[in-house]
Structures are given as C-alpha cells and as structure tokens.
C-alpha cells in the first residue's frame, strides 16, 4: 500500500466519522425538524445580535490591529518587541482567563473600573473589550506580515508625485493589504460569532444572548434538541457565509530579492513618533498588560489558597486529554498535509484544504451537538472516556495544525524527492527518512499548538463533562461560577504559566523551522 492511500484512508475515515457524518446528520435533522413552532421560538434578535456583535468586534479589532501593525512596521520605539510578543500571546490565552483578567481590571470594583464609576462594565463594553483583546492580534500578525513582504514601489511613486501619506495609505497600501485584511476579518468574525464564555459571563442576561449561548441553553437547560438543531443550522449558515473570505494558505509571498523592507511612511520624521509610542503603549496597557498583570498578582494570592489535592485531578486530566488531542491532531493533520503535497488531483487538494479549514466555520457547540445526536446511544461511553471532548478539541485544533504542516511540506523541494528516487528509495522510506525528519519541528509545533488549544478549551468539556471530573479550564469556570474568585485566579495563574510555557516552546520551534 502506498503511503498516499494510507494517509487518505486515515484522514477521510476520521473526517467522515467525526465531522462530515455528524454534521450532515445534524443538518438532516434540522431540515426535518424545522417547523413554524420551533422557528417561532428563535427570536430574530438573536441572529441579529450574534452578527452585529461579531461585526463590531471584527471592525474594532481590525482598526486596532492594523494601526498597531503600521506603527510597529513604520517606526521604532522603546518596547516594540515586548508589544509584539504580548500581542502574540493574547490569541492563545483561554477565554475564561481573559474574562477573569478583564473583570479584575475593568469590573465595577476593578483597578480601572473604579476610576470610571459611570461605566457599566457588563454588556456591550465587556463583550467588545474581550473580543478585541483576543482578536486584534490576528490583524496585527497578518497585516504586519503583509506589510513586511509587500512591494512598496507604488507607494513611493505616489508619494513622489505629491500624494499625502494618508491618501497613499488609503488608495495604495490598503488596496494591496485587502486580501490579508479580509482574511483576518473573516477569521475574527467567525471566532466572535461563535463566542461562548465571553458572552455567557460578561454579557449579562438575555439581551446579550448569541446563537452559541442559546444552543447551549437549549441542550443543557431546556433539553429542547429540535430548537438546538435549528439554532445550529443558522449558526452554520452564518459561519459558512463568513468563510467565503477565508483562505487557509498564507497570501503569496515575494521572493527574497524582490522584498522591499524600507519604510515609506516614515513616522519618525513627522514628530509622530511620540504619538505612536504613547498611543501604542496606552492602548496595550489598558487592553492587555494591566489585565495580565492583575491576573498574575491576584493569582499569586489565590494560588496559595488552593488545596494541592484538589489541583492534582484537573491538572492530570488536562494533561491526559491535551496529550491525546495533540497526538490525534498532529496525526490527522500530517495525513492531510501529506495528501495535499502528493496528490496529483487538484480537486483532492482543494477538498482536503477545504475540509481542514471547515472547523473554523463550525463552533464547539455545533460539533458537540452533532456528536451527541449521532452517538446518543453511546453518550455515556463518550462522556466516560472523554471521547467527545477529544474529538471536538481535535477538530478545533485541526485548521492551525494543518496550516503549519502543509506549509512545511510545501517547502520541501521537488529536487530532493528526485535525488531520493535516484537512490532507489520507496515512498515509505521517503516518508520516514526524508519527510518526517524534515518536518519534525513543524510536527512539534503543531502538537504544542493543539495541546495549548486543548488546555484552554472549556466549551466541549462543559458539554461532555462526566462523573464530577474536571479539567483546569472547567475548574476555572466552576470556581468563577461559585464566586471563588481568588481561587479562580490561582487556577488562572497555573493556566497562564502553562500557556506561556507552550508559547515559548512553540516560538522556539517556529524559529527552528
């Protein structure tokens, strides 16, 4: 058997069993169960609010992320590297940790909240703040990367012809950045429309319900599965529409020779430097630095209040589930990347690529619900063995892992294969002696990324939790729910340390790649 067939069997078997069949089954049930009575239970406002908050969050994250990217690219200022590093960390922090950090700073009795007593934290302000916290870095990274690799000749010509910097930026640079902005926008919109814990904890009641919280309520509270299915169908439609703009591959990069790294707007010369410096630092401090510092300071106090014996079970379970998720994800993503590299059929390549990015468009609740419906007879087994959690988290981590591995595979030159073939190596030998050693850093990176996603994820755990066992993230959620904020901050600190460790490892491997 050729490795291509083996990889295809593994990949498609997993995808059909764990993703396509459950989701199509859900859609089929949805089509059958749609009736006037069920639809009457779905307020239009729910759909409207889900889209509106996602849209505003994506726009605000975009404004901030693009401004930061431009500031960091066009000028040098003290602490630039630190700002860049922090922005990369924010995307990987667990949602619960961030909500805790934001309450500690912006809540009515928070460090900054007390300075603005007229500001009602809960509701719009809190939801948007949390979404911007997570997502501005998506724009920052993507747009920053494009700025770094963009040909700037047109900007220079426009400026030399007398166009103002603002006009040049709007009419030339922005147009060239359109692809990466749209891609970032669609990712952020998808993430925000599927936001669960942020809305549940910081929203404050029915006025801030989204489709995701309504699905959770329909499954766990009202036990209204037809309603949950209908809501999930609407959620899928919204997400698939947003995914139109999402392209899993990085935008085409210029060759090293044609890269123009020089700055064209040169903010240094305009006296704007101070403005940029203070602007970036103040926004970063309010949005990211102070909340993270609050988390560490309060977490230290809370950490010593934790009982070590209470800590052991969640820590071990998080580790076990995380290891299983990272192994499974890297295995599936490796199979997908292998097919993507070696298939001669363009439609297979496109299909693999589409399937691997499909989870971006589907939320945890939708995955969870579809698995519950398909495997309802084995629900107990799924809960006991954490199978549901592992599958949902693997699917959630698949897009990122696939992207990492497919990029690495694409860098393997065709000449190496020809040389290997001339030495008489078979496909399996090439896989184990050539390709896997060549991409092993990327495999480690994919594993670290999926481990991090698993550690921080709590939605699937909440849906499939069993026998009173808990993971670190769910324990954090329950502590917040039990008003044990100090202990929650202690658990939050452990999670934060975990994430920083994973992030440092990830960065190391990324550089080694």
């Amino acid at each position: 058997m050729k490795p291509l067939y083996l990889a295809s069997s593994i990949f498609f078997a997993f995808i059909i069993v764990c993703l396509l069949f459950p989701v199509f089954h859900l859609v089929w049930l949805g089509v059958q169960s749609i009736n006037v009575e069920t639809l009457g239970l779905i307020p239009l406002r729910l759909v409207w609010f889900t889209c509106l908050q996602a849209l505003i969050s994506a726009v605000l994250s975009g404004v901030l992320g693009i401004s930061f990217a431009l500031a960091c690219y066009e000028t040098d200022f003290w602490g630039k590297k630190l700002i860049i590093r922090f922005s990369e960390v924010t995307f990987f922090l667990p949602t619960l940790l961030v909500t805790l950090a934001l309450i500690g700073v912006w809540g009515n009795r928070g460090w900054l909240g007390q300075m603005f007593p007229w500001l009602n934290f809960y509701g719009w302000f809190a939801v948007l703040l949390a979404h911007i916290f997570f997502n501005y870095s998506v724009f920052f990274k993507n747009v920053g990367q494009s700025l770094k690799e963009m040909d700037r000749t047109e900007e220079k010509i426009a400026l030399s012809l007398g166009a103002t910097k603002w006009t040049t930026f709007c009419k030339v640079s922005l147009v060239k950045l359109r692809s990466s902005i749209l891609q970032s926008f669609s990712i952020v919109f998808l993430y925000c429309s599927a936001s669960f814990f942020v809305v549940l904890i910081l929203g404050g009641g029915p006025r801030f319900s989204t489709l995701e919280t309504a699905i959770y309520q329909a499954i766990k509270v009202d036990l209204n599965i037809p309603l949950a299915v209908c809501l999930a169908m609407i959620q899928i439609c919204i997400c698939l529409l947003a995914q139109v703009f999402y392209n899993p591959q990085s935008p085409p990069r210029l060759s090293a020779e044609s890269r123009h790294s020089e700055r064209v707007y040169n903010l240094n010369s305009d006296g704007l430097r101070k403005f940029v410096f203070w602007g970036v630092w103040i926004v970063s401090a309010l949005l990211v630095l102070i909340p993270v510092i609050n988390l560490v300071v309060s977490g230290l106090g809370g950490f010593f209040k934790l009982d070590v014996s209470d800590l052991f079970q969640p820590l071990l379970l998080s580790f076990i589930v995380g290891v299983q998720v990272s192994l499974l994800t890297s295995f599936i993503a490796l199979s997908a990347a292998y097919i993507h590299k070696h298939t001669n059929l363009p439609w297979v390549r496109r299909t693999v690529s589409f399937i691997c990015t499909l989870p971006v468009a589907l939320s945890t609740m939708v995955f969870g619900l579809s698995l519950i419906l398909v495997l309802s007879t084995s629900l107990q087994w799924m809960q006991d063995k954490w199978v549901g959690v592992i599958i949902v988290q693997t699917l959630s981590a698949l897009p990122m892992s696939f992207r990492i591995l497919s990029e690495s595979f694409s860098k393997l030159e065709q000449e190496i294969y020809r040389s290997a073939e001339s030495l008489g190596t078979g496909k399996f030998q090439q896989l184990f002696l050539l390709e896997i050693p060549a991409v092993k850093k990327s495999i480690a990176l994919a594993m670290a990324t999926s481990f991090g996603i698993s550690i921080g994820e709590a939605g699937a755990v909440l849906l499939f939790e069993s026998q009173g066992k808990t993971t670190l993230s769910l324990w954090l959620f329950k502590l917040i729910g039990k008003y044990q904020f100090e202990e929650a901050q202690g658990v939050g600190l452990i999670l934060l340390l975990f994430m920083l460790l994973i992030f440092t490892m990830k960065e190391k491997w990324e550089n080694l790649r």
């Binding site: 009515n108 009795r109 549940l200 404050g204 009641g205 909440l462 939790e465 917040i480 729910g481 008003y483």
Partner: protein, 347 residues
C-alpha cells in the same frame, strides 16, 4: 515523541483500569446526581458521602452538574440506562418538569413523619424535602446607605419602584437559575396582572448591574463589590456571621412577605430495587445530617426539632408567601419567554 506515546499508553491504561474497578463496584454503590455546590470539601454532599460510606460500606458516587436542571436533563437523556439512583437538590422550579418525565417514584411515607409539615414539594410525595430558605435581597451596610431602614417598611413592589434605593442590583437569570425563576414567580405573584408585571420589570431593569447565570455567580459579584444588592436567601447573613464574623451583610425584609424555596431528593424509577436507597434517605433526613444543613447548605433544615446554630437564631423569620404549585412546564417556558422579551426591549 516516544515520551508522549508512553504517556498516552500510561494514561489510557490507568483510565481502563479505574473503569474496570468502577464497574465491579457498581452493584455496591449508590449514584446521586446533584448540582455543583452540593459537592466539594465540607459540603453537605461531602458529609453525606462520608457518613453513608461509613454506615453501609457501600460507595456513594456524587455526580455534579452546573445546576439541578442540568442534572435532571441528564437523567432524561440517559432514560432507562441512567446511572442515577437519586436526584438531589430539586426545587419547586423544576418539580413539575421532573413530574412530567415520569422518571421518578414516590418516596415512602415514613420519611416525611419527622419533617416540618409546611415544608413540602407537592402532596404527591414524589420529592423528599431536606432543606429550605426564604428568598431575600442581601446588602452591605458599609456600601449602601438608606435614608431610613427600609426593612419591614416597604413591599417588594414599592422597593423596586423607589427612585432612591436600588442602584446596583445583581439577580439570577430565570432561564438558568431556579432562584432567578422563583424570584420571577414572586414578582408575578405580587403584581397579579401581566401589565403590572411588565411595568415592574421595566422599572427594575435599569437598576440591574447584570443578570448572572447562577446564584453563585451573582453572589460572587456582590462579594467582589460589583453590586450593592444581591438576590439570595435570608440565611446568607448567617454564613457571614458564622464563618467570617462579619455583620455588615444585612437582609432586606419586605412587609408583604418572602417566598420559600424548598429543596428535595427524588428516587429515580429505574433504580428500583436498590438496597442503598433506604440508608441514603434515612441519612438525608436523619438528625445528624439535618443538623449539618445550616452550616453546609446555609439553609434551614427540613426536619423538626433541629437545634439551629447561634447565627441562625439571630435571623428574623419573615412572613412566607405561597407560590402556587399549579404551574406547568409550558407556563414556565411562556413566562420566561415573555420576561426575555421585556429584558431585550428595555432601555
């Protein structure tokens, strides 16, 4: 990589081993589905588990869920295959839903004989009460200064409509919290008509800091200083007196009374016959566990003649309001639906 693979095998092996041990023990155990706050160190569940295992030698598995509603749903999903023998913590908000599932059987008459007659969850004896409390707003006298002591001077309706008093209140969401739902029923009871109820809530919404998903979430926000008043139980004051020696948390009593919330236990139909049901129910309403109810659940014990701790003796007992049992699951959903619409359309 080999380390990860070894770790995986170790973990899977450990899980498999623990599961085989569990299945062997299943016949010698009782499984109780309950809500989160009932489990954990020094909780009532913890006390029940220790005493039950000591008395019988069998294992007591406490499986906790976010709320008692979720625990009930789990039993409904599992149906005949459910592992639950007992549902612990059911209250009047979910009693009718539980009744309609027909998954529970009547609790034998003998367990009710020592309970206070006024504390019940229906005349059908499907649920065995073990604790109760009065809904009340709690406030911190160091943060909230009333012009005059409002306790026993006003009604709930006057208080909500008063322009002076309520500024930052946190309540529980009736969709997810039984306490929040009982409060909604309370407001329904005092307003009598739909229009009055709507008007009352419309004037209440601007005074809310937020609507928390659960009691613990709401109380946490209150203790953290995020809100000045919180919807809780009158016995919450006893907690602060007993555990923290803090007397600044006061109860706001209304002259028209406060509704009672009773919590009970239900026997799952498919568990019959289980030899461990009797010892468990005996223990639950026995004087030893009942005397622990005030300092673990921070509620009044359902059993007659239990000596209350000093902190409870200090608490005034309010006039109780009777909320009718005649409230079906459909009524519950319809009321919550209307309430949600008012929240959404409020300024």
């Amino acid at each position: 990589m080999s380390f990860w693979i070894l770790a995986l095998f170790f973990c899977c092996g450990r899980e498999a081993l623990s599961d085989s041990v569990q299945s062997a023990e299943k016949s010698e155990s009782l499984t109780v589905y309950t809500y989160d706050a009932m489990t954990g160190k020094n909780s009532l569940g913890d006390k029940l588990k220790r005493d039950f295992e000591k008395n019988t030698g069998a294992k007591l598995n406490l499986v906790s869920f976010g709320s008692v509603g979720e625990a009930l749903n789990q039993i409904v999903i599992e149906g005949k295959k459910t592992r639950a023998d007992v549902l612990l913590g059911i209250d009047s908000s979910f009693a009718n839903r539980a009744r309609s599932t027909q998954l529970f059987v009547k609790v034998p008459e003998k367990y009710f004989s020592e309970l206070q007659p006024s504390i019940d969850l229906g005349k059908d004896h499907l649920f065995l009460p073990f604790d109760y409390g009065y809904l009340a707003f709690i406030y911190n006298i160091q943060r909230v200064k009333f012009k005059s002591d409002p306790s026993n001077e006003t009604t709930l309706s006057q208080f909500i409509n008063s322009p002076e008093n309520l500024k930052r209140v946190v309540i529980e969401d009736p969709r997810t919290s039984s306490l929040g739902f009982t409060f909604l029923r309370w407001t329904q009871e005092i307003t009598k008509s739909e229009d009055n109820l709507k008007t009352l809530w419309k004037s209440f919404f601007p005074k809310l800091v937020t609507i928390a998903p659960s009691w613990s979430g709401a109380y946490g926000l209150f203790l953290k200083g995020e809100a000045d008043l919180v919807l809780s139980y009158s016995t919450s004051r006893a907690y602060h007196l007993e555990k923290e020696h803090r007397s600044q948390f006061e109860i706001l009593f209304f002259k028209d009374g406060h509704p009672l919330q009773v919590e009970g236990a239900a026997i799952v139909k498919h568990t019959i016959p289980s030899k461990w049901i009797d010892p468990f129910l005996n223990l639950l309403v026995g004087s030893e566990v009942q005397s622990q109810v005030p300092t673990t659940q921070w509620m009044y014990p359902a059993r007659k003649g239990i000596v209350l701790p000093a902190s409870f003796k200090e608490l005034p007992v309010p006039k109780s309001i009777f909320l009718s049992d005649d409230f079906t699951e459909l009524d519950r959903k319809a009321l919550i639906q209307r309430w949600s619409e008012w929240v959404v359309s409020s300024p």
